[in-house]
């Protein structure tokens, strides 16, 4: 077991009794339970963890949290690999295997570091200015750029893990379990409110975990857990704040367990939380200082250095230079010093720091260089020295430069309150010049910041603010520690140095890039972001954005509030797609609707088609049969004998009430006044724009009760449409609608033998045509089952639709199957109806077709108004050159035109062609022994007789325009 040379002998919130082995870039190391990957690497003296995105410069661990821009790793491999994790957020487990991303062969030696030599040639936005030769030449360069870009690698197989979503409601959601959040949750909990406290870390404690006086948070947490009305969620980052206090949080359920994760648990859980009010105790994020070569491994945020030494008992260095423009880094210096790190100097950009901890540092004998700055660093894969110089009052360099040897630079450029969620809530921000920070101002939602996220940086103020926010009391502003007006970027000694002052570490955006953008007119902060890519990395600019826009403001001579910030967008921390999808994948992606007869269809080899959510039998191939053969057999059976089809998916709506008839008159184009009980009628429904919406048969059950059918795909839409008219436009009509689609099953019995067959199955319905005519319905028993039988036809043959309770469907089907009948699927139905020239919604119609286009003017009642009628009178609807329905007969009867084929009036002469229409339906008709097609063609049957040309991939087919009623045009077979 490897020693951990930089681990302190004692202290820290780690479990030394549980050593954990892990590997990084193929080398084996050991850490302890309670470590993050970052702290374990530091304990082993590994600072160089990756390379930067653009210049491939060596980079080390900058932070100890979610703001980390540099330490991006790939975890695991294969299907369970995880790209782009932040080493500072990965909890260590036994067997963890991580690699650096975007460098080859590794971070120690990376071939792509040649980019660094071209540094000067490729400033921000360089790609907009070149790669334009030769003409359209971008595709020559792009593959190289794509290969260079991207961080980690996607998994190579389906996700082996599960995810789930959880809905939760609470009175108070407290985000963050630092001192403010703990106080808020406690206060809210004591008031009796239902509280959820969520913290991204584990254990809770927030910044207390990283400070020397760690401890008190444990008690607070225990107190909360004792309250029944408080739910504490650890490892749960609240990451999105949406409208009406709806927030999402991601709980890492088993990520920290690695291969030891129990199989019954999801990897992650997405919480969907609706909160009465929200207390955002999200803390603050420390900013880096911007000086030349501020990115060398070993350069770290001061607060992070402090956290590593206190929480993880890791020495991030042996000899440190602490550089700061504010008081907070003094505490870090003292903690490092206390644990044996030699403090080479505290370099303070301010002329003099005067906080209590400054005094303590002085007392401890630390070397404080006020009015100085680190202006450059030395070293390559690890910082070797800080170059320090004195600053003039105006921020320019003065005097000589001295090199302070060190292996750690702990820097602090001040703190940015984590206002991300507040801003996501729609809240506005205000810039506080004294704090040098954007603070929450007003949110349109019940959201409130407390503690460091509100600009209160000392623990006592945090607790006070948290308590007030949790209890819903007005808060008193805490004491403000004004920040000194020092410059946001330290000048460098050379232009080369100035070009290496990094602001956004991940995307390699430098102060010079920002100045260049401003020079070129990209003055809006949004332009800056987009032109330089500032803040667009996986850290979303959590550390670099504020210094970046401050440098922009300085360059433009504007104040920071005049420049403003970019919008904070969800998520605060990235969320796995799988976690967002939850269980709505695979078999649960969308409900499958099956008819009561589905099992029979399946057992008898049906091929299914998806129609909306329904599975419908497409055809029933017998052994060795192709689709065409099966469909032909099914069609001929219906034409010559009898077939049965499961039509249960058709929508069925019961329309009742004293005004039902009037309602039908308004929503259908035809009249319903004369429809007597026992009779049915075909109806056509239009949108108010005059376009055909749906069709179907409606039966009059009794004077005030009608049963309406819709097409399968439109059932829900039509029901909703009818309800909408009733409720919103015609509340005066007394009509009640009930969907019966799933309550009843429908079997269509069609063919010349069907009358005889029906007669054999029923004792109380007389099928004789004079007593049971076409377009009538009867009630009785079929195969002993209570049934309604509708004599309607979509095939042109004598046909009955037998409707029984869904539960009786299999008995009915079985009874029918004892006779000579052939089950047929939807494709045979399509062919049979096309032979008759019957319209199919969604095939002959596409939302742009009127009844006139379909030559169904006879369906339009002239004596009443109906939905869509007025639209049919518009000028464009009366154009004789609109596309209208025709039949098409190919010259060669064996040629079946593809559906969707376009139609030309003349033989093709070269694109663009003038298209006059398209084939809407096309089949091989076994009945007619030739192909048939329906089409919508400009001018319609005014062109008949006439020839049109249908260009296919390899040839052009000639076809004759004809009557779409190909078979039995007089309709004699209907009465058979």
């Amino acid at each position: 077991m490897t020693a951990q040379p930089h681990r302190l002998p004692e202290g820290g919130a780690i479990d030394r009794s549980r050593p954990l082995g892990f590997s990084f870039n193929g080398r084996r190391y050991t850490g302890f339970a309670g470590d993050t990957l970052a702290s374990a690497l530091l304990a082993n003296g590994v600072h160089l963890v990756g390379r930067s995105f653009k210049y491939h410069r060596p980079r080390g661990i900058l932070s100890a949290g979610t703001e980390e821009p540099n330490a991006i790793v790939q975890l695991g491999s294969g299907a369970s690999g995880l790209p782009n994790l932040k080493a500072t957020r990965v909890e260590l487990y036994e067997g963890l295997a991580a690699r650096s991303v975007n460098c080859w062969p590794g971070p120690w030696f990376d071939l792509a570091a040649v980019n660094g030599f071209a540094h000067r040639l490729i400033p921000a936005g360089f790609y907009y200015k070149t790669f334009m030769w030769p003409h359209r030449g971008w595709h020559l360069y792009e593959p190289f750029i794509r290969r260079m870009a991207g961080l980690g690698r996607a998994p190579d197989g389906p996700d082996p893990d599960r995810y789930e979503r959880m809905n939760a409601h609470c009175d108070v959601l407290v985000v963050g379990a630092g001192p403010a959040g703990l106080a808020a949750a406690e206060a809210a909990g004591r008031s009796g409110a239902r509280v959820i406290l969520a913290d991204e870390d584990c254990p809770p404690g927030g910044m207390l975990l990283g400070s020397a006086d760690a401890g008190g948070h444990g008690e607070a947490t225990a107190g909360l857990e004792a309250m029944d009305n408080v739910r504490v969620l650890t490892r749960t980052v609240v990451t999105g704040y949406y409208d009406h206090n709806f927030l999402i949080a991601l709980e890492r359920v088993t990520d920290h367990l690695g291969p030891a994760a129990p199989a019954h648990l999801p990897r992650q859980r997405l919480w969907r939380i609706r909160a009465g009010r929200v207390v955002l105790a999200t803390g603050a994020l420390e900013r880096p200082l911007v000086f030349a070569n501020n990115d060398r491994p070993g350069t770290m945020l001061a607060g992070a250095a402090r956290a590593y030494v206190n929480r993880f008992a890791v020495l991030p260095g042996r000899r440190a230079v602490v550089v700061t423009d504010n008081d907070s880094a003094y505490a870090a210096a003292l903690d490092l010093h206390r644990h044996g790190v030699e403090i080479a100097a505290i370099v303070d950009l301010r002329p003099d720091g005067d906080g209590t901890q400054c005094a303590e540092a002085r007392e401890a004998g630390l070397n404080i260089l006020s009015g100085h700055a680190v202006i450059d660093t030395a070293g390559r894969r690890r910082v070797r020295a800080a170059r320090v110089a004195r600053l003039n009052d105006d921020g320019s360099l003065a005097g000589t430069v001295s090199a302070l040897p060190c292996d750690l630079i702990a820097m602090s450029g001040g703190w940015s309150p984590a206002v991300h969620l507040f801003s996501q809530s729609g809240g506005t921000l205000r810039y506080d010049a004294a704090l040098r920070a954007f603070l929450p101002d007003v949110s349109p939602q019940a959201a409130r910041c407390a503690g460091a996220s509100n600009g209160a940086f000392d623990t006592a103020s945090c607790i006070a603010e948290g308590h007030a926010a949790g209890a819903g009391e007005p808060g008193a502003p805490g004491p403000v520690q004004p920040a000194a007006p020092v410059s946001w970027a330290v000048p460098a000694r050379s232009r080369a140095g100035e070009a290496r002052r990094f602001v956004d570490f991940q995307n390699d955006v430098t102060a010079a890039d920002i100045e260049l953008a401003a020079r070129e007119g990209y003055e809006s902060v949004e332009h800056l972001k987009r032109y330089t890519t500032l803040g667009m990395g996986t850290d979303q600019g959590k550390t670099g954005n504020v210094p970046g826009l401050a440098i922009l403001a300085g360059t433009l001579g504007l104040s920071i509030p005049e420049v403003g910030t970019t919008t904070f967008r969800p998520p605060y921390e990235p969320v796995a797609f799988g976690a967002i999808a939850g269980r709505d994948v695979g078999p649960l992606a969308d409900p499958v609707r099956r008819t009561p007869l589905h099992a029979w269809h399946e057992e008898n080899g049906a091929v299914f088609e998806d129609v909306g959510q329904w599975k419908r039998p497409f055809y029933y191939p017998q052994e060795g049969e192709t689709k065409d053969e099966a469909v032909a057999r099914e069609c001929l059976a219906v034409r010559n004998a009898a077939g049965i089809m499961d039509a249960s998916t058709l929508g069925k709506i019961l329309v009742c009430g004293p005004d039902a008839r009037e309602f039908l008159n308004r929503v259908y184009t035809n009249a319903w006044d004369g429809l007597a009980p026992g009779r049915c009628r075909y109806g056509l429904m239009l949108g108010e724009d005059g376009m055909v919406l749906d069709d179907g048969v409606t039966a009059c059950l009794s004077e005030n009760r009608f049963l309406t059918t819709t097409t399968t795909g439109n059932a829900a839409r039509v029901f909703a449409w009818l309800e909408e008219w009733l409720q919103t436009e015609w509340p005066d009509l007394e009509v009640y609608l009930t969907s019966l689609t799933e309550q009843f099953a429908t079997v269509a019995l069609a063919g010349p033998d069907s009358r005889k067959l029906l007669g054999a199955l029923t004792d109380d319905i007389d099928p004789a045509p004079d007593v049971f005519p076409f377009m009538a319905w009867r009630e009785g028993r079929v195969a002993g089952l209570p049934a309604r039988v509708f004599r309607i036809s979509y095939t042109g043959e004598v046909s009955y639709e037998i409707v029984v309770s869904a539960g009786d469907a299999t008995d009915l089907w079985a009874a029918l199957m004892t006779h000579e009948v052939t089950p047929f699927g939807t494709e045979a139905m399509h062919v049979l109806r096309a032979e008759k020239g019957y319209l199919m919604i969604g095939q002959e119609t596409d939302g742009t077709v009127t009844p006139l286009d379909l030559d169904m003017g006879w369906m339009l009642n002239k004596k009443k108004d109906f939905i869509g009628r007025r639209s049919l009178a518009r000028s464009a609807m009366r154009d004789p050159m609109r596309k209208r329905l025709v039949g098409l007969r190919t010259e060669d009867p064996a040629t079946v035109l593809p559906e969707g084929a376009q139609i030309l009036a003349e033989p093709p002469s070269g694109a663009p062609e003038t298209m006059i229409g398209h084939v809407t339906s096309s089949y091989r008709s076994a009945t007619l022994g030739r192909s048939i097609a329906l089409a919508l063609v400009k001018g319609g049957r005014d062109r008949a007789p006439g020839t049109v040309h249908v260009p296919l991939d390899d040839r052009t087919v000639r076809a004759e325009i004809c009557d779409p009623k190909f078979y039995d045009p007089e309709g004699e077979r209907l009465n058979g």
Partner: protein, 93 residues
């Protein structure tokens, strides 16, 4: 995800509802009396205000009832909710 107070069921998630667009567009009693432009105004033209809008919602996956909502299209704040046939509250905040 809006939280919509259905006047029949109380507050429910937006995912239970469907929005039906601008409210109080009455179907002309005599469509034939309108010219094409006037008919197009009824059919297609919408106020689409930036700010307070009265619109229709249906509690599709709940009680199935249509009702009116007055909502700010910028902040998404719901200013008032009233049933079909009820007059809109005057000068809602």
């Amino acid at each position: 995800m809006l939280l919509i107070p259905c006047p029949w069921c109380g507050e429910r998630d937006e995912s239970e509802f469907a929005c039906g667009g601008e409210a109080h567009i009455a179907r002309p009693p005599d469509p034939d009396a309108l010219n094409d432009a006037e008919w197009a105004d009824y059919l297609f033209m919408r106020t689409n205000p930036k700010g307070s809008q009265r619109e229709r919602w249906c509690h599709t996956h709940g009680c199935g009832r249509w009702f009116n909502v007055e909502r700010d299209t910028v902040t998404h704040r719901i200013l008032s909710v009233y049933r079909m046939g009820e007059p809109p509250p005057k000068d809602a905040p």
